[in-house]
């Protein structure tokens, strides 16, 4: 049985390959549709993983109340000492963030200034790919830059670059499982405070690590309560919730793109359906001949379904493959309020794209396949 199915699948593939122009045009449309769908899906998936709080997320972000941009959130650095005294607080890291553009943008340069000795606690998952951590610690204007940022700008260790009015020397290139870390430049906090002309003693935010995830809420409340009557009150929330809020406009925009994804799916469905319908119409007599030669209706059904599946799988494969190539080549990022997301397709997104394309091929060819398999032979031979 399996052997016969394979032979019929190959026969269907042969028919498509030898009707080259028609097949290529259909594949062009299908792959464009699946390219669009997979790109949108990659954006959704990237945002989803950036905003979903997991069990290991025990970090709070303390921001200036009613401020959303790193340029306007200014908090006194000495708040850190007071926070360290609150119950449940394990560590407090003051962070200064400088960006070239606070609004939604596809090309964001982000500098994160942290006390040099705290970097590995602030971002414990980073791995040094090139350069030296020690050199960075000893170089006031040194920067450790994310891999994607380095690749996108063609930067190597020893190079100097300037962004947002800050000029730094690349001391190392880092990689992290967290997308944001791969897109930023880590610099010394005092250096960034001076370079951005806000002065020493002012930071953008504090990253507060708590002992357990259950304490996130109580510690956040305690921090905000502590500074409620200060000149610079705070607003504290979990890191990913902070991201979701700060990048709210971007998330709304990306959420809207799901409709483009749905439209692409419908377009692919219609395209394959139309192609298969034309194939079946043009092959009424051929199918009757196959039946005359002993092919049962179910074999005709399977042949037509196979052609739809081939078109879906091949078009999907091309579209999804192009997405993977394109996103890895261009490494696009999008950001808002200093929060950036790297648009990288993950394996589940690619698999979903491929599986969906195959399913669309089968679905689109189901009705034409049923019609083709049920048509009486004699009537078809006369057509």
């Amino acid at each position: 049985m399996m052997v016969k199915i394979i032979r019929l699948t190959l026969l269907a593939g042969k028919q498509l390959v030898r009707h080259r122009t028609r097949t290529l045009l259909t594949l062009l449309g299908v792959s464009c549709g699946m390219f669009l769908f997979t790109t949108v899906r990659a954006m959704q998936s990237t945002l989803d993983s950036a905003t979903r709080i997991g069990a290991a997320d025990t970090t709070l972000v303390v921001y200036r109340e009613n401020r959303f941009c790193p340029e306007t959130s200014r908090l006194p650095e000495y708040y850190a000492d007071e926070m360290r005294g609150l119950p449940g607080v394990r560590e407090v890291i003051p962070v200064k963030i400088t960006v070239n553009n606070c609004g939604a943008s596809l090309d964001v340069v982000v500098f994160r200034g942290v006390p040099p000795q705290t970097l590995l606690r602030y971002a414990p998952d980073i791995v040094l790919l090139d350069g030296s951590y020690e050199t960075w610690q000893q170089t006031d204007d040194g920067a450790l830059i994310g891999r994607l940022f380095a690749e996108k700008r063609g930067l190597r260790v020893g190079d100097a670059f300037e962004g947002a009015g800050v000029r730094v020397i690349v001391c190392g290139i880092i990689e992290s499982p967290h997308a944001q870390d791969n897109q930023v430049a880590y610099v010394h906090l005092p250096f960034l405070q001076l370079a951005s002309k806000r002065g020493l003693g002012i930071v953008t935010q504090f990253n507060v690590r708590v002992d357990a995830i259950e304490q996130l809420e109580s510690v956040a409340s305690a921090i905000d309560e502590r500074f409620r009557h200060e000149a610079d009150p705070t607003y504290t929330q979990p890191e990913k919730a902070f991201f979701a809020q700060a990048a709210g406009e971007m998330i709304d925009l990306v959420s809207f793109t799901r409709w483009i994804g749905y439209a692409s799916v419908l377009a692919v469905l219609g395209l394959i359906g139309n192609a298969i319908m034309l194939i079946v119409r043009g092959r009424v007599r051929e199918n009757a001949i196959l039946q005359t030669l002993g092919y049962p209706p179910v074999a005709i059904l399977y042949l037509v379904l196979s052609e739809g599946a081939w078109l879906g799988a091949a078009g999907g494969g091309i579209g999804v493959g192009l997405v993977a190539l394109f996103l890895n080549w261009r490494k696009p990022t999008f950001g808002n309020e200093g929060q950036i997301v790297a648009l990288l397709p993950d394996a589940p997104t690619l698999v979903i794209g491929l599986a969906l394309a195959l399913a669309l091929g089968l679905l689109a060819s189901l009705w034409p396949a049923l019609v083709a398999s049920q048509k009486p032979i004699v009537e078809s031979l006369r057509s």
Binding site: K4, R285, E286, L293, G294, P296, P376
Partner: protein
């Protein structure tokens, strides 16, 4: 006592076919009785609309009778389901069309191989069978040509190889020389005669052409869905 060998390969009793055309019921074949012995080369002649192609289609199992009995090798085939009838055709019938009906994008080899794809034969066995069938019709050197690269006579010979490749006991041919020049027609008829005489194939052929019918052992005439007696036909 009738032995299995004496019993006709095809037996039609009261074979009738109706179909609806708009509001009318058309009866192209009416209460027809016919026996076709094993190994016979039979020609069916008659004017257009006489029911000869309908009879051929019933015998080939691509259509089903409305009434009557249609036996093949003592087995009633008129009542088989579409799926069973397809499997029966695959095993017992080779069909030769007037317009060859080869699949244009496939080579001669691939066209002939089509009926074998649903068999349990291995690739090597299929290749052997296809090459033998094409050699038998004299096209061993054309097996990798697509139909558009072949002449009409060659296309019909590929179609004959395709009908023969499963080694069916029955070959049915609907005007097999109707679209061929005289020389090609003669070569096709010679092949059919060879298959009947040498391989014992039972052949039922529909034709308009009396010269073509001369190649058969027996010729029957149909008119208005009924078989004519010999003297009527004359």
């Amino acid at each position: 006592m009738t032995t299995s060998h004496d019993y006709p390969l095809i037996r039609c009793k009261g074979l009738t076919k109706h179909y609806r055309k708009g509001r009318q019921t058309v009866t192209p074949l009416s209460a027809l009785d016919l026996d076709v012995p094993r190994g016979e080369f039979l020609a069916l002649m008659g004017p257009s609309g006489s029911g000869k192609t309908t009879l051929l289609n019933l015998i080939a199992g691509i259509d089903r009778p409305s009434e009557g009995i249609l036996e093949f090798d003592r087995h009633e085939i008129g009542g088989l389901s579409r799926g069973r009838l397809a499997r029966w055709r695959a095993a017992h019938v080779g069909y030769i069309f007037q317009l060859y009906h080869l699949i244009p994008v496939l080579t001669a080899f691939e066209n002939v191989e089509i009926p074998l794809l649903l068999s349990g034969l291995s690739r090597r066995e299929r290749r052997e069978r296809v090459e033998n069938a094409l050699a038998l019709v004299g096209l061993a050197d054309r097996m990798h040509h697509v139909p558009s690269e072949l002449s009409g006579g060659q296309e019909q010979r590929v179609a004959i190889a395709r009908a023969l490749v499963t080694d069916p006991p029955l070959l049915v041919a609907d005007e097999p020389t109707g679209d061929l020049d005289r020389e090609s027609a003669a070569s096709v008829l010679a092949l059919l005669q060879q298959f009947s005489a040498e391989f014992g194939k039972t052949i039922v052929m529909v034709t308009h052409d009396p010269r073509c019918a001369d190649a058969a052992e027996r010729t029957l005439h149909l008119e208005k869905g009924k078989l004519l007696e010999a003297e009527e036909a004359l």
